[in-house]
Amino acid sequence: MKIKGYRGQVLVIDLEKRTITKKKTDSQWFNNYIGGRGWAVKYLSDNIEQNIDPLGAKNILVISLGPLTGTLAPSSARYTIAAKSPLTGGIGYANAGGHFAPELAYAGYDAIFIHGISENPVYLLIQDDNIELIEADYLWGKDTWETERLIKEDNKDQMIQVLSIGQGGENLVKYAAIMNNLSRAAARTGVGAVMGSKKLKAIAVRGTGSVEVAFPDKFIKLVDETLDKIYADPAYPSLSYYGTPFLVDLAYISGGLATRNNQSGFFEDYENISAETFEEKYLVKSESCFGCPIHCGKYSKIEEGKYAGTKGGSPEYETIVCLGSKCGIGNLEAIIKANELANKFGIDTISLGDTIAFSMEAYERGALKKEDTDGLELKWGDEDVLITLINKIAFREGIGDLLAEGTKKVAETIGGGSEKYALHVKGMEPPAYDVRTAKAFGLGWATATRGADHLAALPNFELLGYEPEKGIDWFGSEKAVDPFEWEGKPRMVVWHENFGAIVDSAEMCKYTCFSAYAVKPEDMALFLSYATGIKIDSNELMKVGERIYNLERLFNLREGISKKDDRLPERFTKEPLPEGPAKGQYVELDKMLPEYYKIRDWDWKTGLPKKSKMEELGLVEYATKYDLIHDIDLEDDKDAS
């Protein structure tokens, strides 16, 4: 039976055999994994063999939606793209908004599972029931904007939604993104490189159907209540008017505006990259994802000067910092241009900016020399170098071929002590916020299953200036509301990670859930119950979140990513911030991590999950298959001897 909210069908595509199979959505998945990220992780765990090459034929690319996709549930137009990551070797997934996901829902599908490698470039065209693989030689080599334009033109339909890779994905840049609506990026963990390795240039979809919910009246009432909460959120005016660039100002005030590869949290050219400057000079209007009341996306344009004519989706906070202050660049126009290039090439701006910032520090410290860099002087703040390097990386030219591998690999290749300031966790480069000024975020980077990832936990709770009582109430410590403190943070991170897995599986935006906290687990339980007609309560829901998180952990463990990798670069744990309001701060990871393991029921010595936890989550069979269960008796025996 088809469950309301879902569409009831999935697509299994084999690119090698050129087969397209429609299957019924497995209804068991709803109860155990909800949708989106949960489904993707489940499918990958079940169907990917151990230790495969992420860029080989055995990797699988999953695109999946949630039970709220296409409805009026606020900011629910997101989707997950997942695969084994070529950047980390572990679980890889990325999540984007825009207008693609609802279109796929209206075409009638819950997920697409893409197997194998195509002999020649193709794109997948979905028009309701009609699905085709179309030769895409003529698109190969084109950027994402041109690809989208041509596909719409060729099919004579401007309403088609396209996700595509640019040269970044084609050339297997390890942190390539998949783009839709020109500026929306499913960027992290190199999912674009996986798509490139499959010679799949794009997925284009047009859907004219509908999404139904089980209890329309209750559903719309809940939508109304949630909208009221979102509009009443104190951060709403800033986020909706300036977009995420307003976080540049918040980071500056807190002393955590990452500067020159996180050597400092104070950027002297801050004013030139602030939200105020952005708004005054470049902001044209908002550009919203589908069905979103927050509309944090911004459209901007540069009218004059060196970069005149640059236009499109504006750089987000993450991009402004990673391509800007982290590289010492204090010219917003150059950042806007760099962002446009990254979007067209389809490259994750976080990993891109970080890898360039790292190479600049390596150059400063002599680990990279002029003869290694095609004669370029990789000096802090040189915007021409930034633009040149982005081009070189996208096409893997000269030094770009090495930088396209990501920070970890670059450090391993050039050596010279650069590993010390090579900023990554599990091989993935860190986001903008300097976690020395927000300790829960620091712990979250270390424990995130996809590497240095602010979104796995996104524990905004510690940043919102709540009263200490609320800290006690939610996470058992009044210090939980203070970003510089570490107490209460392990509990905070576990809660956010578990609920975050639900949010990503229902495919709602984390801004709705973790900025205004307008949707808490009990609200999400109602949304899902009203949409699907299957009653689920918040405790069950949080259990699903925990299951998803643990399954990701098991995937990583079987691929050799373990406790030793739950770390932070020494810059964040041993180098206190040298100046500004957060001077002296560092991340007390060694204090937080053991408590985190304890809450998770993971063994501190081995890093393996305990059997009782695996039984509770229904993962014991899977964990046993790969010998990943911590056997307490055995461990006790060892201790005794």
Partner: protein
Amino acid sequence: MQVKRILVQKEKCNGCRICELRCSFEHEQIFAPSYSRIIVHKNELEGLAIPEMCIICGKCIDSCPEIAISKSERTGAIKIDGDKCTGCQACVKACPYSVMSMHPVLNIAITCDLCDGNPQCVEYCPERVLHYMTSKEFSDYKKKSILLKETSLSYKPKVVPE
């Protein structure tokens, strides 16, 4: 007396399409832009999003061979008699703004009915792009908001929330 209709400040539209979702829900109890009586046309490269819906020009009334189309006496909105409509699409062809469409399942013509005087797209628009006003009210409103923008510092929110 001037009639109220939906008036659009298209330069403010961010293209979120909440209007389409709410419209389809109001009329069909489902979420489906293809059933919506309001459509947002977009050009993302140029940053354009333009909501379009019936402006009550009346060309469809003249075109209908079944005399199935009239104006509502209460709201002035176009009214389509589903029993009389044969799905011939004469009105769809006659509509100068391409805002008369066919119901994908019932095969009868559909267009904006102003939700019987309480248009939900207007209610839900997060940017106040859509207004249910007379043309006089709309012009006063625009004058007032320009004045507000020029004179009031509070028009722009503070970057850092309170």
